[in-house]
């Protein structure tokens, strides 16, 4: 559908990739760890290695959860915008196909949050 | 239409101005119930609720313009029908 307006209505999005000075926005959320109230948002250069996202921004955001240190990253399962996704930690975000405003989620089998309660 | 008897309600501030109004509503609406909460009263009734000017005037002992209700009204539900003599809330039309 398009908007019902009384005059031509043409505006560009406020969050185009070029608005972020070379970075692209990436969101990451941790499944079954509801203590973190939502996925978080970072601006990252497209050549950032995927592993650096995990060790840098993600560790800062999620590191205070006691499960963080126990994660076996080889077993972690990822989705990108809800679709299965297999990132290579050595490759860049761009080479892993992570586009501007993609939303990543990861599941850590065996780790089920505080007291196993999904939090 | 439907068999469910819908409820209308009228919330008034509970103060000196409304005491007589509330008494009048009680006299004219046997089916209504009155829930007193801090600072207010919520009057609910199945179907319709009527505020009659004459009854209010008897209660407050003076002439009463039903539009004075605007000062102390908090909330209501249902269709409103107002003239000089009565204010009626109802889901019946």
């Amino acid at each position: 559908m398009t908007i019902t307006a009384n005059a031509p209505y043409e505006f560009t999005s406020h969050d185009r990739q070029e608005d972020f000075r070379g970075a692209r926005l990436v969101y990451v959320g941790w499944n079954r760890h509801m203590m973190f109230a939502s996925p978080y948002c970072w601006p990252l250069p497209p050549d950032t290695p995927f592993g650096a996202l995990v060790e840098g921004p993600m560790a800062q955001a999620f590191g205070m959860h006691p499960d963080w240190k126990k994660i076996d990253w080889a077993k972690a399962e990822w989705t990108r915008n809800g679709e299965p996704f297999s990132p290579d930690p050595a490759k860049s975000l761009a080479d892993n196909g992570v586009a501007h405003k993609d939303s990543l989620k990861f599941t850590t089998p065996g780790l089920d949050g505080i007291a196993g309660a999904g939090i | 239409m439907t068999e469910t008897k819908s409820t209308v309600f009228l919330c008034l501030q509970a103060n000196d101005d409304t005491r007589g109004v509330i008494d009048a509503i009680e006299r004219d609406n046997e089916h209504a119930s009155f829930d007193y909460q801090p600072g207010m009263v919520r009057i609910t009734a199945p179907g319709t609720l009527t505020v009659n000017r004459e009854t209010v005037e008897e209660e407050v002992g003076r002439e009463f313009d039903l539009q004075e209700l605007h000062i102390n009204m908090i909330s209501l539900s249902g269709h409103v029908d107002e003239d000089d003599d009565a204010l009626v809330l109802s889901w019946d039309r």
Partner: protein
Amino acid sequence: MDIAVTKKKKLGLKERYALMTRGLGWEPTYQSVDDVFPMDTFEGIKIHDWDAWEDPFRLTMDAYWKYQAEKERKLYAILDAFAQGNGHLTLSDARYINTVKLFINGLAPLEYMSHRGFAHIGRQFRGVGPRVACMMQSLDEMRHAQTQVHAISNYNRYYDGMANFRHHHTHLPYLQVPRSFFEDAATGGPFEFIVAIGFAFEYVLTNLVFVPFISGAAYNGDMGAMTFGFSAQSDEARHMTLGLEVIKFVLEQDPDNLPIVQKWLNKWTWRGVRVLTLVAMMQDYMLPKRVMSWAEAWEIYFEENCGALFRDLARYGIEVPPCVEQVRKERDHLSHMAWCQFYQARGTSNFHAWLPSKEDMDWLSAKYPDTFDQYYRPRFEYWAKLEEEGTPFEAQTPPQQCQVCQIPTIFPVPGEPLTRAEHTCEHDGERFHFCSEWCQVIFEDEPEKYVQANLGAHELYKGNLFGDADPTAEGFDPMAAAMAFLKLTPAESGLHKDSEDARNFDLWRGLATRNDA
């Protein structure tokens, strides 16, 4: 003496109303009606007979001035007494002041927006009846904004988080939820605006705002807020009646109006409920002395009251908006999820957060037996342990937000409380995310509108929150620059127990109840 009093026969209410409203309109002679009222047709709503409009209260302008003046006199007498008697020290608890902050920052500016909106559409409708009704509502809304600012200024003299309410409403990320809600309505056409605000917000949802804030004020010893609340609310009965009248009028005019109105009802019921997330949270977590739970208020004021409304509107073919199913499923989760979000993002809001006490949690368990102990108590207990250990949990990173309602994407899949919902689509080569199916439906209906949203995290990363600071300067601290631009000071945010407000309230109340040697 026995003089016969010849009472001059007064005109009846209906006659007075006809003269003082319809009688004020005229047919333009040297301009076409379409040119005088250019905005009331483009939305596709067809009106054949504007005179069929009924104003049930039949309030005329002269009576309006009389009663509004009376309301003001009553209000200011009480506000003066409140200020003169140090009314702020009669509160149940210092935590209560945070609800006042939420009100002045989040809601009072919406009253002003509503004033502007109704002034606008009061000019745009070609029917005289609705123009007069909208003009009165516009004046009411201005009065509400003014009296709220006035009343709350008595708190602003003593406590943090209120002084910059206008700036914060425009810029603080969490306040973009209510702000964008209203801007969405105000940028629709006149019919959409009046259905959105006049009907969906004022009629369907107004009681859910009134109960927590105004009854909440009454329960917590806040005579000032209680009084402006009652005073403003005395206008709401008229607004609600206008809202319902609009719906009936529009639906009776032409069958083609039904799908348009139903679409707006679906949209605005959902938009309204999403905004009420703030209110639900306030009701269950921020009132030291509680009125009723959000779930109870929802049962009384939506299920019971709006059930009757939608049964009545069924005669026109109107159906209960489909989103209501999800609202029911979220009923026992909404306030808890919201408080978890505000607790961990407490560094970016202008009111204080705290963890519910053991007593609070027992109340929450009793009110939410199916959800609280299983899903939320463990979070609060774990966070309480971290607070005790001196390492309180706080989010380190801005959240992902919904493109439409702008709330962080905190909501789970309905019926699956431990699975975060994920709704996404591509538009014009760009990806967008939503908190729910219903916000996505709204986006996809008018994507050109919502791609213009300014989401907090994105604004920060684009560099739009740095004011005049130079991000290329050596040692540039982006967070400090953003806080300066947002005019957010450390005193306004963080934990309640560490706050200046908590300390001062205890100190002043102590001074008020004992004599120091």
